[in-house]
């Protein structure tokens, strides 16, 4: 289906469209954060420690007097990066492997699916934690780990979709006309299985934001002075008996972003489904 038609159909899903706009703004903020922040994120002001939101510090300050709004804007970078990397790795590794496995079939496919099933039986966040721990604890490795744990899902989805289309007439026709398997997979199978994969990618995007926040909260992701919403919450948790309000905004930012990803995914699923009639 064409991009413009999909966009039109997403527009009709009001919640999905609002979410899309929120996500686009979030991406813009992440790109330009360092130019638009009102304060230096590391500037401490020990006269203004943990003050409540006011005219100059919109979201208040943390226990070192740093501006929370500024840090929140910069924290979007870690979230957006995690979301993008976590879908790029499975798109470029999982999807091709899934298509090849489904197209070839036979023992290759059997073996491949056993491996995918086995990896999927790991509790995702535990495996991400293990991989991060092995690679070395930092934000970059945490994002790679998240990408790796999402890969089997994409492989399985691509494989299942490939099984459905590989006997279609257009694939047979391409075969007869002498096209090689790689060309068929790239030119005829991939475009026809793209829709559900794109939908999966939008859900994975929001899940990645959630997992990145969890890992950074545990101290396994962003390391100071890198700013991440999860890390800000970790910091806020140590102050919970002193000043509980510090936790409100970073948590709300995570929740909103994850919700937006999910709503957009829901809308996209309806938009790309040819079975649902246009009203």
């Amino acid at each position: 289906m064409q991009f413009r038609i999909i966009l039109q159909r997403v527009k009709r899903e009001r919640l999905a469209f609002v979410s899309l706009i929120y996500l686009l703004i979030l991406v813009l903020v992440a790109f330009f954060a360092r130019y638009i922040v009102p304060f230096d994120p590391e500037a401490q002001d020990l006269n203004q420690v943990m003050i409540a939101p006011n005219g100059s510090h919109w979201f208040g300050t943390d226990e070192l007097g740093r501006d929370i709004f500024t840090r929140l804007l910069l924290g979007s970078q870690a979230a957006i990066q995690a979301g993008l990397i976590a879908i790029l790795i499975p798109l470029f590794i999982g999807v091709p492997l899934g298509i090849i496995s489904g197209y070839l079939g036979g023992i290759v496919d059997d073996l491949f699916m056993r491996v995918v099933d086995a990896i999927l039986s790991f509790p995702a966040i535990l495996l991400a934690l293990g991989i991060t721990g092995a690679l070395g604890v930092n934000l970059w490795n945490a994002m790679i780990a998240i990408g790796i744990i999402f890969t089997p899902q994409f492989a399985r989805l691509a494989r299942g979709q490939t099984l459905q289309v590989r006997r279609e007439p257009y694939v047979e026709a391409a075969k007869i006309s002498g096209a090689g398997p790689l060309w068929i997979m790239y030119r005829h199978i991939l475009p026809n299985i793209a829709s559900p994969i794109i939908v999966q990618a939008s859900f994975s995007f929001s899940l990645a934001i959630l997992v990145e926040a969890s890992l950074s909260f545990l101290g396994m992701g962003a390391q100071s002075p890198q700013i991440s919403w999860g890390g800000m919450l970790h910091q806020a948790y140590s102050m919970i008996f002193v000043n509980p309000f510090m936790m409100i905004f970073p948590g709300a930012a995570i929740l909103l972003s994850v919700l937006a990803g999910n709503f957009f995914g829901d809308g996209l699923r309806i938009a790309v489904d040819p079975k649902i009639k246009r009203t």
Binding site: S121, P123, A124, L127, L135, S214, F217, Y237, F241, N262
Partner: protein
């Protein structure tokens, strides 16, 4: 017939077990550079490095390493902690009970809340109760569990002082203390599952309440509750069994976060601590035991599903 089915399912678990052990073992292979150096740090002596290499079998070919590791693991020997020298299997199993108590409590909470919302929402579609249930179903899958935990701790521990913010009391020591200490963590661990069950059960209940046998049950003169209970739920519950199996693995993983927030001495906290201390045998032990538990639960839910669903034949 049934035993043959069981056996075949069990045979399916074996290749899974081989691959999962391979993955757990491989964790040590992806440490960049020299693992011994990475684990001990830059100021380790050459002697200590050599000792660790032979302790972990790093001086042997990879396949032999894996074989040795697997042989020992099969006998319950997962090595020793690099940090405390503690036997890994002892450390893991001493924390297993805590984590299981927590996960089972979370599972019970998920089911209670999920069933409550699903049933109230289908009584009157598009009523305010339905909207509350759908709102909960949406929110519960998106809220970060550690943030939920922090909000509840701020309210119930810091402000009201009703429940402890940290710690854990085993159910076998003191039931009242257990309930008090487990309520917040189990709710935060179970919120995602509760939302999932609400969504799934709601849609499958809506579908099953619309079918012919429900109309038949009504026309026999049965009233609302018996119809929901005996006919609606019974059929709507099948897909929930599969969901519950998946949720188990999910919750087991989420204990790494929740146990850290509430300072609960379970396996999740052990996993986090062993990474912070670069204690690799311990990390591998925790991951292995958790994934084996997941495989067992998947096997059980598979079998349970086929027993509950009369349409599945065993041959």
């Amino acid at each position: 017939m049934f035993y043959k089915f069981l056996l075949r399912r069990l045979m399916y678990v074996i290749p899974m077990l081989i691959v999962t052990t391979l993955v757990v073992f491989s964790l040590i292979l992806i440490i960049p550079g020299d693992p011994a150096l990475a684990l001990l740090g830059d100021n380790a002596t050459a002697e200590k490095l050599a000792q660790l290499r032979s302790q972990l079998g790093l001086d042997q070919p990879v396949l032999i390493q894996y074989g040795n590791w697997l042989l020992h693991a099969l006998q319950g020997d997962l090595g020793r902690s690099l940090f405390t020298g503690e036997i890994v299997s002892d450390a893991v199993f001493s924390r297993l009970g805590v984590t299981i108590q927590l996960v089972i409590s979370a599972m019970i909470i998920s089911f209670l809340i999920g069933m409550f919302f699903a049933i109230t929402s289908i009584l009157k579609p598009n009523s305010w109760m339905d909207y509350v249930a759908r709102f909960f179903g949406t929110l519960g899958t998106a809220i970060p569990n550690f943030w939920l935990a922090m909000l509840l701790v701020a309210l119930f521990s810091v402000k009201l002082g009703w429940l402890p913010a940290t710690g854990f009391v085993s159910i076998f020591e003191n039931t009242g203390g257990f309930l008090q200490s487990v309520l917040l963590p189990a709710f935060c661990l179970g919120a995602f599952g509760a939302a999932q069950i609400t969504r799934q059960l709601r849609s499958s209940l809506l579908e099953s309440m619309d079918s012919d046998y429900i109309r038949t049950a009504y026309s026999k003169g049965l009233s609302l509750w018996p119809v929901i209970w005996k006919h609606g739920l019974r059929n709507a519950f099948l897909p929930v069994v599969t969901t519950a199996g998946l949720l188990f693995g999910n919750m087991l993983g989420a204990t790494v976060v929740i146990e850290s927030v509430f300072a609960i001495p379970g396996m999740g906290q052990l996993a986090v601590n062993s990474i912070l201390q670069r204690d690799f045998p311990m990390l591998q032990g925790v991951v292995l035991v958790m994934v084996v538990m997941v495989l067992i639960i998947n096997f059980v839910t598979d079998v349970l599903y086929s027993i509950l669903d009369p349409r599945i034949e065993f041959d």
